[in-house]
Symmetry: C2
Subunit: 278 residues, 2 copies
């Protein structure tokens, strides 16, 4: 196949590297950063530039730029995407994307499927991208009732070839609800955590728990703001729930109520065991 | 030297394994669990049992049981600890320990120094203990004005031999203040985080940030309750500060205020950069 990739940052760059390392597909890529384009060409992550000449040749187009920029790109290029081509956006919110892109796809005769690779790093850009980023990860896709079986088979074969452990099918609503908790809330929790003045004095006084709790405070604030605003409703609910739970521990501390604290911690331990994930 | 270790769980068991693997010191150990004692003997982590016959032979005694149990153990055994022996407790709070143990040490003619190895795991017990747990970690010690230089030199040599990267000197107050943030608050934040119902539905919808955020929810609630109660004042302050910071993000979400959210995230990213730690 011929695959186009729009945006060669951590996500798109890793897709390009994975495709060139693990399959025999042709990759055309583009990025607004000229240096990234040079690096992508020299490193062999792309075979050439994705432009108005090469885009119509693409069987699959992966979109790995910010949500609103993705929508703008599809609007501008819809007319020259091949009829029957499969377009997958890789943004971290899905209701916004599906609502905007489904009508454009239908009008222009290409197929749109929402996607979200469950992998990331606290670093960004093509230099952080790596060919094994997706190994063992889950690839979420949000097909709808019009999505044909052959389209899903094509995407499944592609993503499994790139190292993904499985495809997770979801609706845009379910995706946005669960992701607001597993990913977005974690970024807020981490960002808020590092704001204690003690964080600046912690050297020699910390181990793994501080590191893990604050790792994703290193984030791209423009991208995450866009994601948070697009998932505002679910994320607000989750953040209120989290603050409410934290307040229970605060009450136990203020009351010096050891049995209450022990019960709260026991409940958390048990829920962690059933939730899994290390 | 001859070293006694009281409690052969994750911390004490790792001390025993590190000493036997990395030095030629003799180790006597004890644990209330008979199976742990058998495993410790069979695996070579101890040379023999720490008991009223062997305790008086010890040059150094490491105490790695819960805080109040540590105080009780020292009270019961103070009379048979060798004069001039160095006793180091490894509990996660230091004001409580120093206030209780310093007078007993002075009355009985042995030397007491508070300690806290900055290493841990979300698993516990002798089976989780490993000889390289302390490699690259910081060892906090809380000497006082009476602690002789030779005592500190002895401890420094011992702990560096076990793989620690350095000794961090602190007062009990400074230790308890910073640790309430870097370690204790992280355990509350993690325990509360896993309480969203979405945690039970996250499979296929999560990657590193969920895992890191909830890792230490797997904790021993009895031990952490004891630590939290002993550090109640500092921990209450830190938890209130954390909830206050989270509420700023909540306001930005509710107001759909993208510039405010971006500013909050940017501030967090910058503070994480200066705080360090990955």
């Amino acid at each position: 196949m011929t695959i186009g990739i729009v945006g060669l940052g951590l996500i798109g760059g890793s897709m390009a590297k994975a495709i060139k390392n693990r399959t025999s597909h042709t990759v055309f890529g583009c990025d607004i950063n000229a240096e990234t384009m040079t690096m992508a060409r020299i490193s062999g992550a792309i075979d050439g530039e994705l432009n108005p000449d090469t885009l119509p040749q693409c069987d699959v187009v992966l979109l790995s730029i910010f949500p609103h920029a993705t929508i703008e790109w599809v609007k501008s290029n819809a007319a020259i995407i091949a009829k029957g081509a499969i377009v997958v956006d890789l943004c971290g919110v899905k209701r916004l994307m599906v609502e905007a892109l489904n009508p454009i796809a239908q009008e222009n005769g290409f197929i749109y499927v929402g996607g979200h690779p469950m992998a990331g790093l606290e670093r960004s850009g093509f230099t952080a991208a790596k060919e094994d980023l997706y190994v063992g990860a889950s690839m979420i896709v949000t097909p709808n009732e019009h999505t044909g079986v052959t389209v899903l088979e094509t995407l499944k074969a592609l993503f499994l070839d790139l190292g993904f452990a499985n495809l997770t099918f979801s609706t845009p609503e379910e995706h946005d609800r669960i992701i607001s908790y597993t990913s977005q809330l974690a970024h807020i929790a981490s960002s808020a955590y590092v704001k204690s003045p003690e964080a600046q004095q912690r050297r020699g006084f910390s181990a793994g728990s501080f590191r893990d709790m604050t790792r994703v405070a290193r984030l791209d604030e423009k991208m995450w703001t866009e994601l948070f605003m697009a998932d505002n409703d679910f994320l607000t609910e989750e953040l209120e729930l989290y603050i409410g739970h934290l307040q229970q521990y605060l009450v136990a501390l203020k009351d010096k109520d050891a049995p209450a604290m022990e019960a709260l911690l026991k409940e958390g331990r048990e829920l962690k065991a059933t939730a899994g994930g290390n």
